[in-house]
């Protein structure tokens, strides 16, 4: 009997431990998803000196090479992030409505018919910010969490794309 009750106590302790571990895991998971979610927000940014009105359709045209000027007629230069990075793939999917393959196929059509060339690529948010500071014609995108007073946010992509729909 004594042995049995000891075993029982040991079992309940184990259960408690397991429950605690589960809670910890759950909390950390929540934190992870929360931080992942905020990182998934993308800000489209321009120079502080750029006072043009920009909407999603205009931004799309600039990033797809269909337009090379802002509303006031000044030249626009799109800079994307590394095409293999998560932020670029989210941006291409959410704003340009294209999977990595469809994005590549789109530019293949443009290049080999001589219509346009894809934008130059930057490799980090910091690089994008530095580039915009040095050239007011640039329009690009960064993680919303990386926003600084050096650049102006003109549009925000709120929702993270559904992983299943994103053909990684």
């Amino acid at each position: 009997m004594v042995i049995l009750s000891q075993q029982k106590r040991a079992n309940t302790q184990q259960h408690k431990l397991k429950a605690n571990a589960c809670m910890a895991l759950l909390i950390s998971l929540c934190l992870l998803t929360a931080s992942g979610y905020s990182r998934a927000e993308i800000s489209i940014v321009v120079s502080n000196f750029n006072n043009n009105e920009l909407n999603s359709s205009l931004i799309r045209k600039i990033f797809l090479g269909k337009r090379s000027s802002f509303a006031d007629g000044s030249p626009s230069i799109a800079i994307t992030q590394d095409e293999h990075s998560e932020i670029a793939q989210h941006f291409n999917f959410m704003l340009l409505n294209r999977s990595p393959q469809q994005y590549k196929a789109y530019w293949a059509r443009m290049i080999f018919t001589g219509k346009a060339y894809p934008p130059e690529q930057a490799y980090s948010d910091a690089e994008v910010i530095e580039l915009i500071k040095s050239n007011p014609s640039i329009i690009s995108y960064i993680h919303t969490s990386s926003l600084t007073s050096d650049v102006k946010e003109v549009f925000r992509i709120q929702k993270a794309p559904d992983k299943k729909k994103l053909h990684f």
Partner: protein, 430 residues
């Protein structure tokens, strides 16, 4: 097993651009990519920015080199030989549909660019040909002129039909794209982008000339070629309408004849179609719906020739659905000669000179060489291996020849009512 796996990784890494491998390490420490921590990070960032700034400030005053490749396999279940694609037969064929292209472009200033695209095709023994070679001048943000060798925008895909990676099929339906033959010309092209709300509309006008070899009639010279097209697209839909007028020369064609009762024709005579100056018109209309999941494409084309040559029309409908990296698709295509047995062939000289009104026996014989009727049903699958590499397979059932040889060589026509062709390809852009 492990060796095989390692080999697989090695092969895959050959296709994989370097940044992809580098980005793997970025994801493990995401913050390092957004905010540089050490002095070294800052120096590295500065170097990158300097390079990018240099690129931008010089406005890409450098040579850009891009390329595409399609490596294919095709085989038919019939001893007939297809007329296009270098002649697919019942033998294994790795060359017929394969090609490689390299494009070089240079901008001496922001308004001017010089572009050359060279393509080598398996069906032409891999001889390199200049498909595009032009100088472009951007008069404004809306208006661009091009002078030199270019592809006529006859159809939806004409300008990039050879870039396998940019097309859903291994090759676009022959019932539409096979009607015209070559679409390359030398001349001037004007592209005008019409700013119009949510629809991107562009007008394209071209004027030029070309000479090429047609599989049936031989050397054709097109002296005066005028083509107009209007394309309008929004996020999901593209509409296109094109009209082309060509004044050209279709050469004489000699067709051997059998004895025909009640005519002076005896075996051994040849029927010579006269060398004719002809007006050729193409009319085409097409539409694409692509919401990144569903892909629907349809196109109609009509060729009219004011001579003994046939008037032909063709159309196709394609439906594809993307499931992750896979896109199964189905296509139905049909081409039909409009004036079979009803063309005025005119006075034709052979050993005996006779006048042949339309619908007569000789006309029927002529039609047997020139008429191309057929339908093709294609089941296909496209698989995205990597963002710049795709694999495709297609099974085509070609039928409804209606007494003609379809798009098959007259010397080796289909033996039965139908021909099946299986095709595989690996396509890439680089």
């Amino acid at each position: 097993m492990r060796q095989a796996k390692r080999l697989q990784i090695m092969i895959l890494s050959l296709f994989m651009p370097q940044p992809l491998i580098a980005s793997g390490s970025d994801t493990s420490s995401p913050d390092s990519s957004t905010s540089p921590q050490t002095l070294e990070d800052w120096q590295q960032l500065e170097r990158r920015i300097n390079t990018l700034e240099r690129k931008l400030s010089k406005n890409n005053k450098k040579l850009k080199i891009d390329g595409f490749i399609s490596a294919t396999y095709a085989r038919s279940d019939d001893r007939s030989i297809t007329e296009n694609w270098g002649g697919i037969t019942e033998k294994n064929d790795f060359g017929a549909l394969s090609n490689i292209g390299v494009q070089m472009s240079f901008s001496p200033n922001p308004r001017t660019s010089i572009t050359a695209q060279f393509v080598a095709r398996g069906e032409e023994q891999w001889h390199m040909e200049a498909e595009w070679a032009y100088i472009a001048f951007k008069a404004s943000n809306q208006l661009t002129f091009r002078l030199g060798r270019q592809k006529a925008p006859l159809y939806l895909l004409s300008e990039y039909i050879e870039v396998g990676y940019a097309n859903p099929w291994i090759y676009a339906p022959d019932e539409v794209y096979g009607i015209t033959g070559d679409s390359t010309y030398n001349g001037i092209n004007m592209l005008y982008k019409v700013p119009m709300g949510n629809w991107d509309t562009s007008l394209q006008a071209m004027w030029g000339s070309n000479a090429f070899s047609h599989p049936i009639v031989g050397d054709v010279s097109l002296d005066d070629l005028v083509s107009l097209s209007i394309t309008t697209r929004n996020e999901y839909i593209t509409y296109r309408l094109g009209y082309t007028l060509i004044t050209g020369n279709i050469p004489a064609l000699d067709v051997p004849l059998p004895t025909i009762a009640n005519t002076p024709i005896v075996a051994g005579d040849t029927l010579s179609f006269l060398d004719l100056e002809s007006d050729i018109t193409y009319l085409s209309a097409g539409a694409i719906f692509d919401n990144s999941q569903w892909l629907l494409m349809t196109e109609f084309a009509q060729l009219k020739v004011d001579s003994w040559f046939t008037d032909t029309s063709g159309a196709y409908l394609m439906i594809g659905y993307r499931v992750g990296k896979i896109m199964p698709h189905i296509t139905a295509a049909k081409m039909e000669v409009q004036d079979q047995g009803a063309r005025n062939i005119g006075t034709i000289s052979s050993g005996n000179t006779i006048f042949i009104p339309p619908g007569e026996q000789v006309g029927t014989i002529a039609d047997s060489f020139l008429v191309q009727n057929q339908s093709t049903y294609t089941l296909g699958l496209r698989y995205e291996i990597l963002p710049a590499v795709s694999a495709k397979m297609e099974l085509s059932h070609i039928t409804n020849f209606n007494g003609s040889n379809g798009q098959f060589n007259a010397s080796q026509p289909p033996t039965g009512d139908s021909v099946n062709i299986v095709k595989f390809s690996i396509d890439s852009v680089f």
